[in-house]
Subunit: 462 residues, 4 copies
């Protein structure tokens, strides 16, 4: 790449998982409306056809009205081709298929273990990690060989374990993981400001928060809007909506019954623990003891959120495939709109085009002193020209330390054991997961079944 | 006190809980057979009569054959009288009566929560802490006033929370907590050496161990006898006895069905986690997820240990009271025998009469880098003349970090909230305890009932 | 204060040292051109007349063309009056007079100890600290009473010791220290980019740096402009100018012989140590062993910088007093121009009007892991709405650790001893200062003389 | 080796530097009087003849009256032969000859830099390190290959840098460095107890001390004998002897003018800094600023200690060579007497034959929280069966932190640069050494000359 005339040219981005129908399009859109950089995005996907379709879709964007920068897209046949000499690497893959995810999410139901998402924590998250970690191992090794100086942005779940794998395999990697769950909570705080204080038109980014925790089990220890400490405001809001939940009108239109969320889990955790739980309720619930919010379907309903069945994801994929065809054929026009994701802003900041402070997932260098050094945590970090430094976040508050330290440690354990191909070690983490309100012997049966269900992706362990 | 002719004289010991029928007698016996020190033990107890009886019993010891040093015993009416100018303070109290303990242990059974001991962890341990912490607050304040330079040895449970309270209230206190559970595991390793290797007559103290964890959930990361690494020996032993358990002949005589233990929990934890769990199975079980070893009475039986009903303790107390009367009246002769406790050896070491390295409960200065600084932990420490320094123990091994960090944090939380008289904060710890496999609303009902049952001792919270 | 319509009103700023002729005017100017806030600045100074003059000067600004916000200025008679309810506190005082500074700087010359500035490090810095620390003690106590929630910006030297005093006296204080020396080095890097690479019109703020060290002995471990790593550029620059120094044309006009600097010290330190020394050469020299750059006047000349005699400062003060009169009388027009200082931008960021990442002096929370926790260090920090968090800076590089750790520790020692009124303790730091290439007995004589010279301000130590 | 009947047999010890005339004989003597272990000592020395002589001398010991255990001695031709399968490794070598040491010690005198020992700190220590580090590199690599599980005891100076090299090259090494300087200070405290308090016959080991610092610049933060805090006693002693020094009668006989020491440096440091400097004055002086105790010969004399000329060492070596011949030929009888060194006791403790707590040089795991993790420091450690764990020592007291942190960092720097063959990096440490009260350019000339003088041993750097 090169910089001149207030603009970067010839940036090379490798997109691993570049056949994606969804994330990739959003990223293309965000790139297109960003004036001060352009270059080429290399799309790599195990589904080469999908990548090729995205190549064509991407290359069509430059002709759309409102497009401000000319990016080229190129599908490539090998990961290394994509990575070679890359300035940035995006990783957004689905480890396995929705069939595997179906096992992850629904097999545990035999033991009355319900999971609202099943991609991060709990038995589903661990099995997904088993598939994902070897893939990230390979990616990390390839990055080491092909583009050791590239900045690497991961969007894949289980986030914490993916990022940890990258750093274990290639400690000098410049990687971080991005997730928009905290943004959702900032938006809820915007709602609270309007609902309680009558303050309108506050922007999400103007809610300044201090973030601690691990991905999808993030907590805010401070939230401020201009001169207003939001904690007392949110307390009032929480008391108001703790019984019936808070559902925004606009959300209802978009949402469906499988993603519904009335913020009651979030509110309950806040009222009990004093810090603001800052992820979707479906995620938060999966990090808490299994008897709290996910005991059974009635409990889930009572807490006003939903279990997302993988069947829905399969159906949704169909729709996205159809849309892909239409975009590919030109039947549907690609529309430019900002996604609200920060990936492109982070890239700009790393290129020195404006500082950015936001939350990311990176190893703990001491930004959270009472979690183990090296564990991947989510806190604010400071993006500047070719640098990403964590912002000191402070200790996990004592009240929530027991909840967070155990899952932080569990995820560390899974990564290490998976890298050592030690399934028994992984099982130890699995058995002690907060969701696992069953005996060790039942846990073992469940684990073995889940491994067997997804064994096609787990050959390296045997 | 003063030192001369290789001997200390006029040592002043304050014994808080000095009416004890059991611990106190053992301590008296250990003092009597120690040649190089003598002085006065001031016995304070809320049951003054009991202290007076022990005064007489203690003062009779000097005439027993085998007594090597002349200690005086004196019952006093106030705690301050006992503490004033003390060189050493022993704290060994029962917080409340066995009626309160009955509530601690058995009330949770309504929710199918079984506790094998109920004095350290779990709902019972937390309620006991609620009673104990204000008592230790007062003791710490009195020590600060009356004998700030004294060494303070605590034997009371819940150990971790008692010691933490002392340090929170009087940070300069020279206090530590002692517990013999690790010794029991060292003895088991002696058995393993004999059973597997045919090595006989090994002394417990010659098993050198590295200890990490919190009291009653202690783990050995290293165990060595002379040139033998005991880990592979213990592994063989564990494999041999994992199904049917290991019960020593001599133990059977002593034990009764309420204290039985076949080491199967300990063995299971070792085989799964790779470090040696080092406390009695009844204690270990209470720190693990409730569904593992304490799910129901059948599970307990299957794992070869027992629930100790408080009714048994009440009966046992009767017997000890009877024995107290007999010792007091002279009907029974006081017998001198070493208890195997290390209290007197620790005192000697602190007086400069010989270095001692053994495990104790003190704040974390960094001896366990991956637990929070300041949290009370159990590791080896080095006792020398007027100094007690922790020995670097290393990180909690990753595999057991999730199990230990959560209970370590929970206990920190209980102490802080109890000192702030914040019952809601205590409840948060209570609800997240590993034993609590119930919903938050049920947890609240149980908590309220347990508080109500013991409210006579909890007035300061209202 | 209150926020509305994208603007803050009624902000209350306390300016301690508000009679200043120089800093205060610059600050007034920066406030005036900032659109989104206004309020009142309370000027407190031991020289009330000076404050009153600044009141009039300040209140005249609103009528100047280009003034964008209406600030009121009000001189007050007591520090507490200024502080009461303040939102922000500026501290910019001269501890003592230039007579005391004359002793600080020139008395050591009797022992061939030359100081180029004498306000931060070395014997002069320590004596100045002796006067300043009790003043800051009082300020901190008043802030605790009058405006505990205010943000406090210190500009006074010795910076590190001033900020440390504030935190020692009132640990919850929200204080930080600002210094523009790093900016000067960023400008030098701008020059290097132009000189070596031909890149023009780079802005100082676009040089992104990672800062470690203590104030006036700050070092850059990373410097980046867009996609350019500046280290190799600066190395080329350093090799080019190491013999004859680098003097910018524009600087020559402004500078006089007492402030001259040819960057040779900075270049020498870089070439030897590999990190970029990032303060003026006159400051850097004072933190290095006395025989390096300040051995005698010839050595100073050889290294291309100057000793600033206090007589010059006295003359300069005369000129500033004259200018003050002219501004006061209206003979001279107050001119609005940006100072390049960041104080007003920091205030804006703390009000939530835009994030800012810049270098400041605050306690070490772990942002520099190999310096003691709690020591005041200079690193980047992140300013956001009502929050200031250090950015992780990493270890002091091994090569410069010996140079920095000793002065960091020395300053900690001076503050503690000064707060305890322990002059012997301060002397220990004094004797071991890098500049002190003399025997301990000579050091004592010098110390006593310097104390005696300034005893009017040191009564609290006797 | 094997253990049985309360005794170890077939222990294999590798002695690197086994041709030594002095240390080796003492070690043989200590081994001979230790009942519970025996085996073979493999003597390796670059001077094979010397090793062979020691083989014969050693093998003659078993016939001496008072010899309690039968050790065999065997000179070997290669280091690897000695190390292969060793249980313990002793390293006690002279890096280079006294000709090189002559350059180390006396060349700096051209610049008025005087060194009392010149083997640890200062320019001499650094040049010695340059020769030694590559030798230790090789030793560490051989240990890794031949006996990775052996315990390694180093006696060679510069101690800190030798031990650090072992750990840098082979991080899993079980190595520590031993030095008797702290023992000497304990003996001085014994003298103080007798002199001030009239307490007689106190044993060195009964003075319990807390040690912090780096080798030869160790400090005691606590010293206790039974119930007596020695600090006030030592203060009285220090005041009594600060002017004329303290010289023990018995010492005078032994000592000569080149080793004289009147403890005045030690006393001065104590009175100024409040912690007890705990090494010989000749060593302590070399870690302090050069103008304090080593400014010139008059200053040295005034402080009551001596510079040890290398010519004396050469003469002494002659005598030891003569004695070697006599022992070899049988003309002189080998005499068994305890050396007061602890090496053999440490070996016993590591074999599980009795716990030992004493001071050693090992990496900082956090035993001194305010020095960098990983730096080699001297503190107490706990020796037990196959384990050596540091005892928590606490922070370097603030008053001496500036003195210690800089030399600690300097030594880290020298090791790293020497391992990287980076002489310029070593020079940076050299130039900033406390003894170097000269300009950087003079320092460079001196460095180059010293390197040139000893270049035969420094070929790997060119």
């Amino acid at each position: 790449m090169k910089y001149g005339n207030n603009k970067y040219e010839d940036i090379k981005i490798a997109y691993i998982g570049g056949g994606s129908r969804g994330w990739a399009w959003g990223f293309m859109s965000d790139l297109a409306v960003c004036e001060d950089m352009c270059g080429t995005v290399y799309l790599y996907d195990i589904d080469l056809e999908a990548a090729k379709k995205n190549e064509k879709i991407g290359n069509g964007i430059k002709d759309i009205e409102g497009c401000k920068s000319q990016w080229k897209y190129k599908a490539v046949e090998t990961e290394k081709e994509a990575l070679e000499g890359a300035d940035f690497v995006i990783i957004s893959i689905l480890p396995g298929t929705f069939d595997e995810m179906e096992s992850d999410v629904h097999t545990p139901e035999k033991y009355n273990i319900y999971q609202s998402v099943g991609d991060t924590a709990g038995p589903g998250g661990i099995l997904r990690a088993l598939r994902t970690i070897p893939m990230f191992e390979e990616i990390a090794e390839n990055i080491k060989k092909c583009c050791p100086d590239a900045w690497v942005i991961n969007y894949t779940n289980p986030m914490t374990m993916c990022v940890k794998t990258l750093y274990k395999v290639f400690p000098e990697i410049k990687a971080f993981g991005c997730c928009h769950e905290v943004f959702g909570t900032q938006k809820l705080l915007v709602n609270a400001l309007e609902d309680i204080k009558g303050i309108k038109d506050v922007k999400r980014e103007d809610i300044k928060v201090n973030v601690v925790g691990v991905n999808h089990f993030t907590w805010l220890t401070k939230a401020q809007y201009k001169d207003i400490d939001i904690f007392p405001v949110y307390r009032e809001f929480a008391e108001k909506y703790k019984d019936n939940g808070f559902v925004k009108k606009s959300d209802e239109n978009w949402m469906n019954k499988y993603f519904s969320c009335s913020e009651k889990v979030k509110i309950d955790l806040f009222l009990r623990y004093g810090s603001i739980a800052a992820a979707g309720d479906r995620h938060l619930a999966e990090f808490c003891p299994g008897d709290w919010y996910l005991k059974d379907k009635e409990t889930v309903e009572k807490w006003g959120f939903a279990l997302t069945p993988v069947s829905w994801r399969k159906g949704d994929l169909e729709k996205r495939l159809e849309r892909s065809e239409k975009l590919y054929s030109g039947e549907e026009k690609f529309e430019l709109k900002e996604t609200g994701e920060e990936g492109v802003q982070q890239i700009r900041a790393l290129l020195g085009l404006g500082d950015l402070v936001t939350n990311v997932n990176i190893p703990n260098y001491g930004q959270i002193p009472n979690l183990p050094i090296g564990a991947v945590v989510e806190t604010n970090a400071c993006f500047r020209a070719n640098s990403l430094n964590p912002v000191f976040a402070g200790n996990i508050p004592q009240a929530i330390y027991p909840l967070i330290s155990r899952v932080c440690g569990e995820q560390e354990q899974v990564v290490d054991c998976a890298l050592n191909r030690d399934l028994d070690g992984v099982f130890n983490a699995f058995a002690a997961d907060p969701n696992m309100c069953i005996s060790v012997s039942d846990a073992r049966k469940l684990f073995d079944e889940m491994v067997d269900n997804t064994k096609e992706y787990l050959k390296m362990y045997f």
